[in-house]
Amino acid sequence: MDCPTCEASVDAYVDGELSARESAAFEQALTACPECRERLATARAIGGLLRDLPVERTTDLLRARLERDLRASVDAPEPRARPAARPWARWSAMAASLIVAVGIGWVGGTFTSREGRDSNEAIASYLRVAMAEAPVEVASSDRHTVKPWFAGRIDYSPPVHDLTAEGFPLVGGRLDVVSGRKVSVLVYRRNQHRIVLSLWPAGAGGNVAPSVTQRDGFALAEWRHAGFDMRAVSDISPNEMSSFATAVNRAVDVER
């Protein structure tokens, strides 16, 4: 075997694609070919480094979203021949949300800072919206419908604006509980992604510019503006999240 021949076999050899006879011939040719021995060592080292990379695991959010969409794409109800499948389907739906909850809880265990707990809470709040059959309690893109809905349900009046012109149409509103207190939640949309904005009267004065962080494929933003503490979570990109926070602030400023 001459060098061009053995050179052409290095990759196939290291990938286990040669027959036993071809492998034996290649191994014999190697003894006379230092260049191909180096090629072989390189290919093996690269394989070792790549196989050592951490495995990318599916996030709980992706599983939850997928579960929701798979179910929605199925046409007929459960087949009558298998009535036992019904309760199971319902249980598996519950299991899916439990997996998400447990996943979040576990991540929570690795964070001890206040910020960590806050962002877990924010993500949990997002998932309540993302997983829910009815993501909002009042569904409207009209702020004059959404804003009055909060009156009598919470003890403050949150600023509500439709941001369709900025690419974030208002979907509606709902209530959530954050740190034991009832807060207003506005749900917006960016293409097929939902953005969950929680806001409540600020605990301190002054404005704080939005700080956007990324965790587990979520973008989180926290800021203080016009007397409100705001927190937004979504599975959009950090850049889009920044644009969203800017759009919210601008709409609030225009009104004042």
Partner: protein, 183 residues
């Protein structure tokens, strides 16, 4: 695919058993194609939904290459008209400012970051073939079916991919970390 039958719940059950176990593979491949965790989630989700729609045409071949082929095609389709390389290249930004000191030992985590960055900057045609071979552990025949290429092309791309990867690694890691022979 508008003429495809809408999946019924029995199809979904079979889909769960046959295809869904490969979701991690689909997501992992999507991570390396998109090089972005958010875009990878979208791509994996879209691919799985597409796979369910095509599942009536699944003839009991190997499910993992079948699914990875759909991921690859979905990726190609979503980029049409979107501007192929406008996507963020976040992993590549993790490149160190200075050439690392060959004497200095880097922690395994650090080394992995450099390896990931080296893979992320490779051109797509060689990156995908390397991921399918070394990370997904597919055979040449399976890779050929995922990428819709002749086996000979898979082979020559792999050789080219390893050359490029070796050059990247030599530029990012010291001799003791990459373990490659000297040039």
């Amino acid at each position: 695919m508008s003429d495809a039958p809408k999946p019924d719940s029995r199809t979904l059950e079979r889909f769960r058993a046959v295809v869904l176990p490969h979701l991690d593979s689909a997501y992992g491949f999507a991570r390396w194609l998109t090089r972005d965790p958010v875009a990878a989630q979208d791509l994996a989700q879209e691919s799985l939904l597409r796979a369910l729609r095509y599942f009536h045409a699944f003839r009991g071949e190997e499910a993992r290459p079948w699914l990875l082929r759909i991921v690859r095609n979905t990726w190609t389709d979503t980029r049409v008209g979107k501007g192929a390389d406008a996507l963020p290249l976040e992993m590549a930004d993790e490149r160190p400012a200075d050439t690392p000191d060959p004497e200095q030992s880097v922690l395994a985590g650090d080394r992995r970051r450099h390896v990931a960055a080296a893979l992320a900057v490779l051109p797509e045609d060689v990156r995908e073939v390397l991921v399918l071979r070394e990370i997904e552990d597919l055979s040449y025949k399976q890779i050929a079916s995922v990428l819709d290429l002749p086996i000979g092309t898979v082979m020559s791309r792999l050789a080219r991919a390893r050359e490029k990867m070796a050059a990247q690694l030599r530029g990012r890691l010291g001799r003791s970390e990459h373990g490659l022979p000297d040039l």
